[in-house]
Amino acid sequence: MSARLIQLLAGSFLFFCIGVTVFPVLFPTKVEKKVTTVARTETVIKRDHQVDDWETEEADEDDAAWQEEPEDTTPDRRIASQDDETFDEEDVPIDPKQNVVPEARVHAQFTSALGEMRRFAPALEKQEAENYKNDEFKAADWADPEKIYFSLTDRILNKLGKLDETTIMRKLQEPAFRLDLARITLIRKAGSQALRGVCTRPKGKEMLASLTSDLNWMTNLLHSGPTKKMDQALCYLETLYGLVGEQEMSNPVTRRIATTTALEFAREGWNENDMTARFKYYNDSWKEGKLNVALDNLQYWETRVVTGCKQPGDGAGSWGGPRNLAWHRDNVRLPMEQYLGAECQLEYRLRNVAGDSVFSSEYLAPIWKYVNFTTGWAYREIGGVCGALSHYATYSALAAGLPAATMGEPGHCAYAMRIGNEWHRGNSIYWQHSLHKTFWGEHEWGYLILTQKLYEERFKTLSADIMVAMADFLTARRKMKAAFTCYEIAVKTQPNNWPALKRYAAYLKFKAPEDKEKWMTLHDAVMDGMGKNHYHAAATMLARYVYPNLAPLIKDRAKLNKMYSGLFNHFKDWGANRWDIAPILNAQISTCTTDDDKRAYLKESLRVLMRRPDYSGAVLTWGLGYISQLPEGDGKIQEDFTNMLVQAMGRTGASKKDIDETWATLGEAIHAAAKNKERRTFQAIGKLAHRKCKKKFNKKGPRVKGFSGRVVSATAWIDTATTIGDMSQCCLHWGVLQRFGGVMPGKFEGKAGLTIGMEKKCDITGVVCVSTEEKLKNDRPFYIETSDDGMNWYRAAPNGVISGNQIRFDLKKSNVSGKYVRMLREGDKYEPGIAGFYVYGAPQRN
């Protein structure tokens, strides 16, 4: 029995052992899965207890993938698409000699390199005329872009040897070398996967072979402005290549139109049908000799402004569709100079003759068929306001093949038009221009001028752009030392190269964020280069990309403040156009960590900027705006800031020589105070202006028959709904509240009118408004609204009685009170000037 028992036990043990041995072999996955799952996360295990079948399912999926796909030990050969914002380093061994940040160099240490670059530019010009071609890579080769990429990287690095700057610059002068670099740049910008995609298109390989064998074409594709979404641009180019064929595409003008259209439509994210239609419009028009001959000689970047004009869709309401462009081309044919002002062909009408508002869909609705759904034609028949007028002039020029762009201004639409090499403003009434077509996403006027100047020096800029492409390549191959050298030479060669400077600053932040000397060198390079003429761009470059990195490295606050104020000391005036200094001052003050730092900063900034007539009004405006945004706290810093600003204003000159500048400075400041609803500041500036510039005010005011009580509005702030372009006369707004009167533009439309904010809530007995117009329109009533908080308004009865130039509101029996009072009018927009505004009554005690 015991022997049998022993046999049974032995047999069972043997069976168990066999089982233990064989089971994992027969069911390997399940066992491994368990182990893996348990080993991976505790959470999974916990969940396993909670939900029976959850773990198994999840683990199955995970582990099946993990186990069934053998690990790919070959390196990923794909070349990722590289944008202008990031740096993609490849998985290559690091050369210790190259893994260092070279020391910062002063300008003199670039002499030799810059001399070489100066010779490079004319060489590029000469070689462009020779048009280097090399068809080493055939259509079939482009099916494997990685192979091309890696063979070219090896070739380039071999040719560059030790990667010293002399060799780099010498090699870049060879067209064959540059073509190799361009091919690499193209693959990196598009990404190899996307290139494979292009190759699957009908003419993809053929187009790529043709494009990459032609140095001029490649150069213009890569270096005529931004290259965002290059993969899409190549697909579009393939479409156009297929459309016209190789022979027509070899025509330089057709090629330029096609390339720029593809680049711009890809960058803007517009669809292929519209892209093809736009290309056909320009290419066919050019072939038929219908465009202005100036198009024949445009550079690629200029052509991009034309072929990339906005609103590409066709049909009613679109300006950039082929139908509308063709209409402008044929019906508004003018010499270049006359497009500036072509908006005069349209009548200015806020309402059409049927009374429909220009902002309603009814405005043009019945006319669309008559004008064949052509936008420009419709507005020429019916008229329009600033938007239609500016678009009309702009698209007339664009349709002829001339660079132009619409631009926004506060509550207004204007346009920019190029005549020769100069940009002009059209239909413009304010200094704040926001261009609707930009290269770098910077909309202000200064950048348009910067772009123009940059590309006017075409080959100098091109030499710098090629150097940046070289630097980008070296960055990808982890040759940091050589990459730094190339970026630095590039920005020294063309100091106005906004994208190159931006790229270098980004690389510096990436590789040497705490290298104070390098940041200082970049700061000085911007000041000495771009800062010579392009003040706004230079200040923005510093505020956005340099100060945030450099400021924490400078421990001496006084030195930093000097550097900040030195920026404005460096500028002669506003430059190409007035610009908003607030973002720059905000960037500077944002590096102050304590209230004392802020006080010191403001003191230094006011010291410098108040001496500069151009900037003094703007800095006061900024200061007042800054105070109004500060958190309440104990109010100490607000008070200190206010005192400093008022003192600074007090120091403005009152001599004959200075009076106009002081008047303008205070005007700008009082305008800001009114917009910020800063009653005390508004009054302080008004009184100061009256003291310093008494002659600017009236001696005698309008004759007004008042109401009972006293004039409670004399110490208020007053604001008009009109957008003020020239703020130099704004101190007269304060005069409007005083006995001697003043002048301010009025605008009454809906809830837009004239508003005052008084010192205290008052019981109001009446209001008198005096206009600068001799006889006010009386077909619609004016009325008064009051409010305690400036938010909730209540209409007071009765309406005003209009008599000549005065409106009188008798509110004695109306039991009206409020801290805020506004005068409004029913009906359409009416803009009479205001000479006096007087609220009568008594302040409430509480």
């Binding site: 019906n331 044919r333 309402r351 003759v353 429909d356 609705a365 019945p366 008559y370 020769g420």
Partner: protein, 365 residues
């Protein structure tokens, strides 16, 4: 050398223009020579526009323009874009101390200018200028109109008071611009001429805004009855009036579709081929029929004629005047093509006073 030969050849051809046509070399010269006859100026882009250069070749070098000029003075005026020194001198020489009149929208063109430098008409549409035959036919119409208008203006110069005003209005109705401010100078108060000169479409829109429909009707009909307004002005009045009814507003319902149909039909029939004739037709489609405008032909049904028994008369005839031009052009052939349906169009032309269909939306009429 080639340029010289071309210029010489061109000069020779221009010299071969018929004897009665005066050729001027400069603009001041043309103004001096013109007298009672018009000046025809061929203006073209000489250094920037291939279309202009081609037109120059056709019109001037091939001398196709010559038979049309007749007694007019002819001047050739090249325009230069960003002119070089030679081109600047050429422009200065041709213009002297004068400036070309404003109001030309596109080149190449044939501008008809009087001896006072007033632009009277322009042939500038691309469909005209691309074909000399078409352009010159248009030129001929303008020149005929010029002489016709000048003849009436001559009568006006000799007349006084109401007769003078009548002549001026008659001249202004001819499809060519009047010289200078001849209307304005002679407009006086509430006469027909004063009405035409002083008409302000925006002011009418604003005035109607606060009126009830009855008041608006009375106001517009009274204006029209005063007479003197051009067809275009009458169409604008109708647009303002119909727009007011269409929008309705505070305490006012919008007018019924039948009412709008009547008004827009009336507006269109004043001059179907004009911009506002087309506007009225579009209004009929979208605001009366509730349709949308497409590139397809306008459906014929929209031409059904509504009527306005108590609306009055938009014919432009002064009260009691039966000899005025009337609501001309009501042929049904409109700016958007022929949209008539037989049987209805007679009403569209003449029967503005037929009974209306019942108005069940209860508007103010």
């Amino acid at each position: 050398m080639k340029k010289f030969l071309i210029n010489a050849f061109s000069a020779l051809l221009v010299a071969l223009l018929p004897a009665e046509a005066a050729i001027a070399r400069t603009y001041p010269d043309a103004l001096a020579k013109a007298g009672k006859h018009p000046i025809v100026i061929f203006i073209y882009g000489a250094n920037y526009d291939k279309v202009g250069q081609k037109a120059h070749e056709e019109f001037v070098k091939k001398n196709k323009i010559a038979p049309y000029i007749k007694q007019a003075t002819f001047l050739e005026m090249p325009l230069y874009q960003q002119p070089n020194e030679r081109e600047k001198k050429d422009m200065e020489k041709r213009l002297g101390n004068k400036r070309l009149p404003g109001g030309i929208w596109s080149y190449p063109c044939l501008a008809i200018v009087d001896s006072g430098g007033n632009l009277r008409a322009v042939v500038q549409k691309p469909e005209e200028m691309k074909d000399p035959e078409v352009a010159l036919a248009a030129l001929k119409v303008h020149l005929d109109n010029y002489y016709k208008q000048e003849k009436i203006l001559e009568r006006a110069r000799k007349a006084k008071g109401d007769r003078k005003a009548d002549h001026l209005l008659e001249a202004a109705d001819i499809d060519i611009a009047m010289p200078g401010n001849v209307l304005g100078k002679n407009a006086d108060g509430d006469t027909g001429l004063g009405n035409r000169v002083g008409y302000d479409p925006t002011a009418l829109v604003e005035a109607l805004q606060i009126m009830s429909f009855d008041e608006a009707n009375a106001h517009v009909r009274k204006m029209m009855a005063q007479g003197g307004f051009s067809k275009l002005q009458r169409q604008m009045m109708m647009a303002a009036y119909a727009g007011h009814l269409r929008r309705g507003g505070e305490k006012k319902q919008t007018a019924s579709k039948e009412r709008l149909r009547a008004l827009y039909t009336e507006m269109r029939n004043i001059d179907p081929k004009s911009t506002y004739g087309a506007y009225a037709e579009g209004a009929l489609v979208i605001w009366v029929e509730g349709g949308t405008l497409t590139e397809e032909a306008v459906p014929a049904e929209i031409n059904r004629v509504g009527t306005t028994p108590d609306d009055g008369d938009s014919s432009g005839r002064s009260s009691g005047d039966s000899s005025g031009s009337g609501s001309g052009g009501g042929s049904g052939r409109t700016a958007m093509g022929d949209t008539r349906i037989s049987g209805d169009d007679a009403g569209a032309e003449d029967d503005d006073f037929a009974d209306s269909e019942p108005d069940d939306e209860g508007d103010d009429f």
